[in-house]
Symmetry: C2
DNA sequence: TTGAAAGCGGTACCAT
DNA sequence: ATGGTACCGCTTTCAA
């Protein structure tokens, strides 16, 4: 294996009988350098395949042209889409993307942040883990003067720009659609109320019920801990066995809706005739389910691209930005599961 | 924006009244340092959240503890799983992962490689784009003495270790299962024969037919260009309208199988009774389809983890490894679409 | 066991 | 227009 050392500025300077600073300035075409010298140095550099050692440059400038990105889960259609959007935007601007995942564990998030700080990323894109309450490890970036953008799942404790789904509006219009379809006893399988998305979707759900004079019952709003297919199935069973049985279920996620659909199928309950089902996220599975699942498209790619864009702008301005919240609009996707 | 500089070794040394070298040695637990000093320094470091500036370390050691990873597509259940496996393995070893995607375009792959080289990654994990024929941009890593691992889609022109699905065996056993179920006229919607995976799956398919004395017809093996749902639908239509109509279809991917199923459903052809359908990859959609789709689980996570592991070992040995091929075994997942 | 200092490869400031 | 040099933060050799 060749371990041929790369040629350095010093080598160039020595060979050409000039100083290192002159060589550096020539290569970067600074003003105040004679055209002759520039040509001399550039020709020599090219001929000998000089490649600047970017570690040294980074070290000196304390910049890496690298952005850190931390998500709870990578194998997840929504987050993959977000990452994809961020990579596209960042790469287009000549930035690299360092990616890590937390599996929703605070411990992993801390490790990831340390690793990112250690990697001297110029800025951070993060969607915080469900488990995270203390946010010192993220605050550290801000303390170092590095911009941070929170997307999707965020903490109010961090003063950073945020890019999020418009959960309230999305939930409202999803539930309104159920009402328009004639459903009257609408349940909502929600997430934990410690997570802002869950809170906002719940608020949208409740407001829609209120605005249309429909009954709200606490027993119709169970809370998932892990947002899993299994929980969807269990809660559907629970809801269907209530004395006051709902005639529609608005699920926090398509995966939960899948569990719900599976239970309803096994119990011989007809969707959408007897019970309407609405998901959230528009994963590919929602299109494939039988009956196909009505849901809300979250535009993950756009969320990622927008987050990266904001970060890149802050990097350019050398600022940490304001604390604005950018809400990315959603699309209601109507399919069979809610069309009575 | 506070710009309080991160605390450095020098700060620690000054505060504790020791020298920088002692502080460094204490933090790295060198032998020849008193336990007291080690404790003193480590406690101080922890208390003040000292994080070594890895650019400086990297600079010094000419290593970045960062691995580059390039995939064709990020929003893809298989590749997400591979990435996830690689991240887990790499992070556990204290390595960071720089990720880029090519959208199957050679041009993007070249850009991604340049960016990775500029980022001074220590090694590269890559699944090459369908479009890629010239591999100079990847060879460059090898020329610089950096190890490269190819996974899933590779080029024989590159002398590197490879981690791949055992496509031949997987295809063979998938087709054998169809035969065992009584299907006799088995079609195969394949990918482009320029891609090794397609070639191997085709070989496995053909060998299974031969071993069981079944007829092979070229018209039964159409080739997808983009491996899409739409192509699956089109080819299914084509196959079903052949005078010699197949009674089973082995698809290159679950997505293609979805298109096939949609066509069969629309044409009123019963699965699995009239036509059996087999996918490949075991995406979530295969479980959700109606009828559920038999398929082959590729263990993407394992492929990613194994690739990272091999790379990490080479990094440790400071070698570029042999040109061994590691085949990751698969699991045949039998569901409704092939159970006559 | 500890300290001093060189040096990694650049950049940029201060002289000339 | 060019050279000299300090310096970024850390590791490591040499001395004490």
């Amino acid at each position: 294996m060749s371990d041929k050392r790369r040629i350095t500025l010093k080598d160039i300077a020595r060979e050409l009988g000039i100083s290192v600073s002159t060589a550096s300035r020539a290569l970067n075409s600074y003003s105040g350098i004679s055209a002759d010298t520039i040509k001399l140095v550039k020709d020599y550099a090219e001929k000998h395949h000089y490649v600047p050692n970017s570690i040294a440059v980074n070290f000196r400038k304390n910049k890496t042209q690298t952005i850190g990105m931390i998500v709870p889960e990578l194998v997840h259609p929504f987050f993959s889409a977000v990452i994809s959007g961020a990579i596209s935007r960042a790469n287009a601007a000549g930035y690299r993307l360092l990616i890590s995942q937390t599996d929703e564990k605070a411990k992993n998030e801390i490790l990831a942040c340390q690793s990112m700080i250690g990697g001297n990323v110029d800025g951070l894109l993060i969607s915080i883990a469900n488990e995270t309450t203390n946010i010192d490890h993220i605050q550290e970036f801000l303390d170092e003067g590095k911009p941070v953008i929170q997307f999707d799942k965020f903490s109010e404790l961090l003063d950073t720009p945020k890019v999020i789904t418009d959960d309230f509006e999305s939930a409202y219009s999803a539930v309104k659609h159920l009402i328009d379809q004639g459903y009257r006893k609408i349940a909502h399988i929600n997430g934990l109320m410690a997570v802002q998305n869950s809170i906002d979707r719940f608020k949208g759900y409740k407001k829609a019920l209120e605005d249309h004079g429909l009954e709200y019952r606490e027993e119709w709003v169970p809370h998932c801990k892990s947002i899993s297919e299994g929980e969807g199935l269990e809660f559907a069973k629970q809801l269907m066995n209530l004395p006051q049985r709902p005639d529609a279920i608005f699920c926090i996620t398509d995966l939960v809706a899948l569990g719900v659909m599976n239970y309803l199928k096994s119990a011989g309950i007809k969707v959408p005739e007897q019970v309407g089902v609405m998901g959230f996220s528009n994963w590919k599975i929602s299109e494939v389910m039988c009956p196909s699942l009505s849901t809300v498209d979250q535009h993950g790619f756009k969320i990622g691209a927008k987050s990266a864009e904001i970060l890149l702008n802050l990097l350019k301005e050398n600022s940490q930005g304001n604390h604005e919240t950018y809400k990315i609009e959603t699309d209601l996707i109507i399919r069979e599961s809610t069309l009575k």
